[in-house]
């Protein structure tokens, strides 16, 4: 048993390593460098960084209070709210994307936003909207379990010592939820960097306009420009590794899943 399971684990380890390394070394090194420096990839890097950072910031700002409500308070329809908040987790991003496209593209709501200058469909703004929609449930889930693990009596004591409800939250609960907050933010950001399906549906795949790294990978692959596609994926691999490192580092304290 020991020998069998060990060799199987080692085999899987090798397969993953070989597949990834083969991808990175597919183009000769100078070609990879040239691709990474090309205007298209540079544009994709910047666009991905900006949209991911903005959408992560929005997720954090919404999840900090929302997940607190789910962790601490009882309210009518709490179970239903929890369930609906979990749906996007299980939904294929493509489906989430098309739902967003229908909502923003065909409803009065979407059109009103459009006329106000906030065009969402097939724009960089759409990238942010798609990323928030898909990743917010992750952020809420992680933060919620972080809060739930903190004894509410800390807040009770803080209140008897002179804190308002908000004061107790900001001075005690939020600092104690820090590991979960860091892990959640990192996962949300890394997932945003790699988000493809929902972005493709809502923001489209327009070269040098809504071209994030995954979209760049897809566009260049479909036009046969493998070197550029590989360049985009190399960056995505590095981002995944960095995120994994951060999460591993904090996962002892954070209740991530």
């Amino acid at each position: 048993m020991r020998r069998f399971s060990l060799s199987l684990a080692f085999f899987i380890f090798l397969v993953i390593l070989i597949v990834l390394i083969r991808l990175i070394i597919y183009p000769p090194l100078p070609a990879l460098a040239t691709s990474l420096a090309s205007p298209e990839i540079r544009f994709a890097i910047v666009l991905s960084l900006v949209t991911s950072t903005v959408s992560t910031a929005i997720c954090v700002a919404l999840a900090i209070p929302a997940s607190y409500a789910l962790a601490r308070y009882n309210f009518p329809l709490k179970k239903l709210v929890n369930l609906v908040l979990t749906i996007p987790l299980a939904l294929p991003p493509l489906v989430a994307g098309i739902a967003l496209l229908i909502f923003f593209g065909t409803t009065a709501w979407g059109k009103a936003l459009d006329s106000l200058g906030f065009a969402v469909v097939f724009t960089p703004l759409g990238i942010v909207v798609a990323e928030v929609f898909v990743n917010l449930p992750y952020m809420i889930r992680i933060l919620k379990s972080s809060y739930a693990a903190i004894n509410p009596r800390y807040e009770n004591v803080a209140k008897t010592l002179g804190c308002t409800d908000t004061g107790a939250f900001l001075q005690v609960t939020l600092p104690l939820a820090r590991p979960g907050l860091i892990a959640g933010t990192t996962i949300t950001w890394a997932k945003s960097m790699g988000e493809f399906g929902a972005v493709l549906m809502l923001a489209g795949a327009t070269t040098m306009r809504t071209e994030t790294l995954p979209i760049a990978l897809y566009l260049n692959l479909s036009t046969g420009d493998l070197d550029l596609a590989v360049a985009a994926s190399v960056i995505l691999i590095l981002i995944s590794l960095a995120a994994l490192f951060v999460v591993e580092h904090f996962s002892d304290e954070a209740h991530v899943f």
Binding site: N151, R153, Y154, N156, V157, K159, T160, L161, G162, L176
Partner: protein, 354 residues
């Protein structure tokens, strides 16, 4: 009268407090006793303002504070697991309350040192709570509450998490702090031992309601019902039927044994008798004591310095002897002995449909 709790009721999930009423005088050490799950902590949290009562009211010196926020009450809380903020040093934990009131840093520092000296924890100030022992954490939690000079200090099972030696020291410490600061204290515990040294008055809780309030000796000698008597560990609970007999009451217990009690109760009763009030002898014991029952020793249960002797006198009667007198009397299993006790040592509780 300082704290006045009147007909407070509160439902939290499956649990509910019903008709909680008691008064605590200024400077008093008040202890709420009850088994785990009686709702003692919820009572404390309601006094502190964490839970708003569904009905009833809480007053301080005549002022209704039922709806005021915890921070406006100036009531300190120390939980049994201390709840020291793990991300702050001991110094910042103790100074936490003063910081909320925007007091100058240097003033806070001075106050923290002062209270730390009082509790002998000055050397702990730069450390984090995670590195402290249970006793140390408890003193830090006390300092954090006391620094605001609270009008009431609420202690939630303060001895529970401590080992026996530390517990003894803490009991003395609490007594000293209470004398020194004059703070009104309400402590909850399920440990009867905690009470005698500290409490001015006690309340007994059961299933979300208070069943008896009084001075410890009063409650101990005159438990209002069998629950209180059993909870307080009073040795003997004798079921029987009481009938007047002159100035006394004659109780017919199991096995047709009759005992005399100084009471006027009649009908079905439970009589309580403390094990230490039973005198054991080999020959009939002549004294003013009105009860002298012959019996056979069925069991001897040694505990620290005493031996609990269970005598079959028609029903099992528990007596307490020191190891020495047990040896001197030569009592062993199946010894024939006499159990003697005064009529005034028997406390009679009427049983109404219980």
């Amino acid at each position: 009268m300082a704290l006045h709790v009147e007909s407070v009721a509160k439902t939290l999930g499956d649990f509910s407090l019903r008709d909680i009423s008691f008064d605590v005088k200024t400077g008093e050490y008040f202890v709420i006793l009850g088994p785990t799950g009686a709702g003692k902590t919820i009572v404390l949290e309601t006094i502190a303002g964490i839970h708003a009562p569904d009905t009833g009211r809480i007053c301080w010196d005549g002022e209704d504070i039922t709806r005021s926020e915890p921070r406006a009450r100036n009531i300190g809380v120390v939980y049994q697991d201390y709840m020291l903020f793990p991300h702050l040093t001991v110094e910042d934990n103790i100074g936490f309350g003063l910081r909320q009131w925007r007091i100058e840093r240097s003033t806070i520092h001075t106050s923290v040192e002062e209270i730390a000296n009082l509790l002998d924890i000055r050397n702990l100030l730069p450390r984090f709570p995670g590195t402290l022992s249970g006793g140390e954490q408890q003193r830090v939690a006390l300092a954090r509450a006391l620094i605001l000079k609270p009008r009431v200090l609420l202690l939630d099972e303060p001895m529970n998490a401590l080992d026996t030696a530390t517990r003894e020291r803490m009991r003395k410490e609490l007594s000293r702090i209470h004398r020194l600061t004059g703070t009104t204290v309400i402590q909850i515990t399920h440990h009867f031992e905690d009470v005698f040294m500290l409490a001015d008055r006690i309340a007994i809780m059961k299933n979300g309601t208070i069943v008896q309030v009084g001075e410890p000796s009063e409650v101990f000698w005159h438990p209002i019902d069998t629950f209180v008597a059993e909870f307080l560990g009073i040795g003997n609970l004798i079921k029987g039927v009481a009938r007047r007999s002159g100035s006394l009451t004659k109780i017919t217990a199991e096995g047709k044994v009759t005992i005399l009690a100084a009471s006027e109760t009649e009908g079905p009763v439970v009589a309580t008798l403390h094990a230490e009030d039973v005198i054991v002898s080999k020959a009939p014991f002549t004294s003013s004591a009105r009860n002298c029952l012959p019996g056979t020793v069925i069991d001897l249960v040694p505990s620290r310095s005493t031996i609990k002797i269970i005598i079959d006198v028609g029903f099992p009667l528990v007596a307490l002897l020191t190891r020495e007198s047990c040896r001197e009397l030569g009592i062993s299993q199946n010894s024939n002995v006499y159990a003697t006790f005064k009529a005034s040592a028997v406390h009679v509780i009427p049983v109404n449909g219980e």
